[in-house]
C-alpha cells in the first residue's frame, strides 16, 4: 500500500507538472495578483464588493457589453432584497407578446428576465463600436486564462503606448491584452460612479468590485459548491475510515 501511494503520488506530481505546463501554453503575460475573498476552500463572495460591482457594470460596462446568461432574480444571492431586484429589473424594457390581439408590446423588466443586451445583434454592436464586438460578460472570468486576475489586470492595465509600439488608429494600449492593442477605450475613470456606501470610487476599487461581480456572474453556485464539498469530503473520510477498519477485520482471519 505504501508503495502504491508512493508511485501514485510520483505519477500524479509528474502529471500535474505535465498538465499545468500544457495549461500555461497560452499565458505568456504575468497578471497582477489579488487575494480574492472567494478563493480557497472556504471562500465566499464579498457581497458589498459585488453589489458595488453591479453598479459599475450597470453604469459603465452595460453601455456596450451584454450579460445575457444572468437573470435579475439571481441577484438575491448577492444580498439584494426582492423589492430592490424588482426595481433594478423594471429599469429595462422588453419586447413581449404576442398578446390576445396578436400584437407585440413593450413592458418593463421582471425579476425572471435576463439582463438586457445593449445591442440587438452582433452586427449592430460592431457598427457602434468601430468594428469591434464587445463580448458578453456572463462567463468572461472563466473564459480567459488568468481568470479574475486577468480581468482586474486588464481593467487597470491601460497605459500610454511605448515609443516603439505602433498603435493602430482607434485602438488603446493595454499592458495585459494579448498583442496590447485593445479596441475598448479605458472604461474606468476616477470617480466614474458614485458609490452609495461611500467607498471612494478609484479605478482600482471599481476594477476590483466589478471583477467580483463578474466572478459571481460566471460561477453563481461557487459557495453552494464549496459548502457541499466540505460535507462530502468529511463524510467520505468517515466512510473510508469505516471501510478501512472493516477491511482490516475481514482480512484478519486470513493471516
Amino acid at each position: 500500500m505504501l508503495k502504491l501511494i508512493k508511485s501514485l503520488s510520483a505519477a500524479a506530481l509528474l502529471s500535474v507538472v505535465a498538465i499545468s505546463g500544457a495549461h500555461a501554453a497560452g499565458a505568456a503575460i504575468e497578471y497582477k495578483s489579488v487575494d480574492w475573498s472567494h478563493e480557497g476552500p472556504f471562500g465566499t463572495y464579498d457581497r458589498a464588493a459585488a453589489q458595488r460591482g453591479l453598479q459599475v457594470y450597470r453604469e459603465v460596462c452595460a453601455g456596450c457589453h451584454s450579460l445575457e446568461q444572468v437573470s435579475f432574480r439571481t441577484l438575491a444571492d448577492l444580498g439584494f432584497t426582492e423589492d430592490e431586484i424588482k426595481a433594478i429589473a423594471a429599469e429595462g424594457t422588453y419586447m413581449d407578446g404576442p398578446n390576445d390581439e396578436g400584437d407585440m408590446f413593450e413592458r418593463a423588466g421582471k425579476p425572471f428576465d435576463k439582463f438586457p443586451s445593449p445591442f440587438a445583434n452582433e452586427k449592430a454592436a460592431r457598427a457602434s463600436n468601430g468594428g469591434a464586438f464587445p463580448p458578453d460578460l456572463s462567463l468572461i472570468v472563466k473564459a480567459r486564462p488568468g481568470f479574475e486576475n486577468y480581468l482586474y489586470s486588464l481593467l487597470t492595465g491601460y497605459e500610454d503606448a511605448p515609443e516603439d509600439h505602433k498603435l493602430p488608429a482607434g485602438m488603446a494600449y493595454n499592458a495585459y491584452f494579448a498583442g496590447h492593442n485593445i479596441a475598448m477605450p479605458a472604461p474606468l475613470a476616477e470617480d466614474g460612479v458614485e458609490y452609495a456606501d461611500g467607498t471612494k470610487a478609484s479605478v482600482d476599487q471599481m476594477a476590483k468590485d466589478v471583477t467580483v461581480f463578474l466572478a459571481w456572474a460566471a460561477e453563481p453556485k461557487l459557495e453552494e459548491r464549496k459548502n457541499m464539498g466540505l460535507k462530502v469530503i468529511l463524510f467520505l473520510l468517515l466512510l473510508g475510515g469505516i471501510f478501512y477498519a472493516a477491511k482490516r477485520k475481514v482480512w484478519s482471519d486470513l493471516h
Binding site: 505546463g21 473564459a143 453556485k221 459548491r225 457541499m228 471501510f243 482490516r248 482480512w251
Partner: protein, 412 residues
C-alpha cells in the same frame, strides 16, 4: 455451482433463468488470488465511473439541447437554473477525466504485471476496445457544450480523416453531414455520445466474462495452483474495493468541488465561433500523448497513421512480449524499461499540450520514437535476453515468505 438458493421465489426464477446464480458466482464466490494489491482496485473503479457517467449523462441530456444556436446556452441553463445542474455537469465533465485516470492506471497495471499474456489475450483486446470506445465517446462529449474548443477540436480531429488518400475528403464530408462542422455534426455526435456508453457496457460484460474464465492475474503473475492461493471475492475484495472507492471519491471530490474547471480549457466558455480560431487548439489532457504523436510527424497522413498505430500495436503486445514470466517483479530489466516507458508517456502528455515549435518538436519526436522502440524492439528483445529472478512455488508461498521476512501485513 455452489449457489443453492433457499428462497422459493429465487429457486423458481433460478430454475428458469440462472441469473441470480451467475451474479452470485461473479461477485460472491468468484475465486480470487489472495495477494491482489490495491493496483487491482482500478478495474472496479473504472466500472464505477462508467456508471457515474451514464447516470449523470442521462440526467444532463434531459436538460441539454443539441442545436448550434442553443447548445451553449442550454449548458449554462443547466449550470444556473437546473436544481443541482452545476453538480451534475461538473461531475460528468470531471468524471470523464477520472474515468481516464483510473483506466490509464488499470492499463499500466496490466503492462507491469503482464496481464495481457496467455491465456488473457482476448481479455486485453476487449480492454483496448473499451479504451477506443471511451476515446470516441469522450471526444464527442467534449463537442456538445459547443464552446470554442468543442468546435475547433471537432474540426481538427475530423479533418484527420481527410488524410486518407483518394476518399479522405468524401469521408470528412460524410462525417460532418455537410461541408463544415455544423448542426448536423453536433446532432450526430450527441446521438452517438448517448449510444456508445451502452456499447461500452456490453464490451465491459465481455471483458468481465473473459476475466472470470481464467481468473485475475496477480502480483506474482503465477497461476492459481493450490486451494489456499485463492479467496472468495466476497467479502475480501468487495470490502477492499469499497475502501479503494472511498479514497478515490475523495480525490474525485477535490476536483469536483474545489477545482472543477482545472482540467478544462477557458476557451470552452466562449461560444463556438467558426470565424475565430483559438490561438492554441488543444484536446483534453487524456488525448495529449496521442496528439503529441500525431504532431511528431511532419506529414499529415503519416501522423494520423502513427497515432492510430500507437494504439494498434498494443493489440500485438501478447505476442511482442517474448518473456514467459508475467510479473515485472521477477523481470529486473523489464521493470526498469516499464518505468522509463511510463516517463515517456508523461513526457508525451506534456509535449501534447505545448505548441508545436522549437525544442518541443524535437522532444516530441524523441518521445514518439521511444514509444514505438519500447514496444516493437525493446519488449521482444528483453524477453529473449533477460535472466528472470527465481519464481516462488506458489502464491501462498510468496505471501508467507513476505510475511515472514518483513513482519508486516504483505498486502494490507
Amino acid at each position: 455451482m455452489s449457489f443453492q438458493p433457499k428462497n422459493p421465489m429465487v429457486k423458481w426464477v433460478e430454475h428458469r433463468l440462472p441469473i441470480v446464480g451467475m451474479v452470485h458466482h461473479a461477485l460472491y464466490d468468484y475465486p480470487t488470488p489472495k495477494n491482489l494489491s490495491y493496483w487491482w482496485t482500478f478495474g472496479s473503479l473504472a466500472g464505477f465511473m462508467l456508471v457515474v457517467q451514464i447516470i449523470t449523462g442521462i440526467v444532463l441530456s434531459m436538460h441539454y439541447t443539441p442545436h448550434v444556436d442553443l447548445a451553449f446556452n442550454s449548458v449554462e441553463h443547466i449550470m444556473r437554473d437546473v436544481n443541482y445542474g452545476w453538480l451534475l455537469r461538473y461531475m460528468h465533465a470531471n468524471g470523464a477525466s477520472m474515468f481516464f485516470i483510473v483506466v490509464y492506471l488499470h492499463i499500466f497495471r496490466g503492462l507491469y504485471y503482464g496481464s495481457y499474456k496467455a491465456p488473457r489475450e482476448l481479455l486485453w483486446w476487449l480492454g483496448l476496445v473499451i479504451f477506443l470506445l471511451m476515446m470516441a465517446t469522450a471526444f464527442m462529449g467534449y463537442v456538445l457544450p459547443w464552446g470554442q474548443m468543442s468546435f475547433w477540436g471537432a474540426t481538427v480531429i475530423t479533418n484527420l480523416f481527410g488524410a486518407i488518400p483518394v476518399v479522405g475528403d468524401t469521408i470528412v464530408t460524410w462525417l460532418w453531414g455537410g461541408f463544415s462542422v455544423d448542426n448536423p455534426t453536433l446532432n450526430r455526435f450527441f446521438s452517438l455520445h448517448y449510444l456508445l456508453p451502452f456499447v461500452i457496457v456490453g464490451v465491459v460484460i465481455l471483458h468481465i466474462w473473459s476475466l472470470h474464465t481464467n481468473g485475475s492475474n496477480n502480483p506474482t503473475g503465477l497461476d492459481l495452483k493450490e486451494k489456499s492461493d485463492s479467496i472468495p471475492f466476497h467479502p475480501y475484495y468487495t470490502i477492499k474495493d469499497l475502501f479503494g472507492l472511498a479514497v478515490f471519491l475523495i480525490f474525485f471530490s477535490a476536483f469536483l468541488f474545489y477545482a472543477p474547471n482545472y482540467l478544462g480549457h477557458p476557451d470552452n466558455y466562449i461560444p463556438a465561433n467558426p470565424l475565430v480560431t483559438p490561438a492554441h487548439i488543444v484536446p483534453e489532457w487524456y488525448f495529449l500523448p496521442f496528439y503529441a504523436i500525431l504532431r511528431a510527424v511532419p506529414d499529415k497522413l503519416g501522423g494520423v497513421l502513427l497515432m492510430f498505430g500507437a494504439i494498434a500495436i498494443l493489440f500485438l503486445l501478447p505476442w511482442l512480449d517474448r518473456s514467459r514470466i508475467r510479473s515485472a517483479r521477477f523481470r529486473p530489466i523489464y521493470k526498469q524499461l516499464f518505468w522509463i516507458f511510463v516517463a515517456d508517456c508523461i513526457l508525451l502528455t506534456y509535449i501534447g499540450g505545448k505548441p508545436a515549435e522549437g525544442a518541443y518538436i524535437l522532444w516530441g519526436r524523441i518521445a514518439t520514437i521511444y514509444y514505438f522502440v519500447h514496444i516493437l524492439i525493446l519488449l521482444p528483445l528483453v524477453g529473449l535476453f533477460e535472466k528472470p529472478k527465481p519464481l516462488p512455488a506458489s502464491i501462498s508461498e510468496d505471501v508467507l515468505a513476505k510475511k515472514g521476512s518483513a513482519g508486516e501485513a504483505s498486502n494490507a
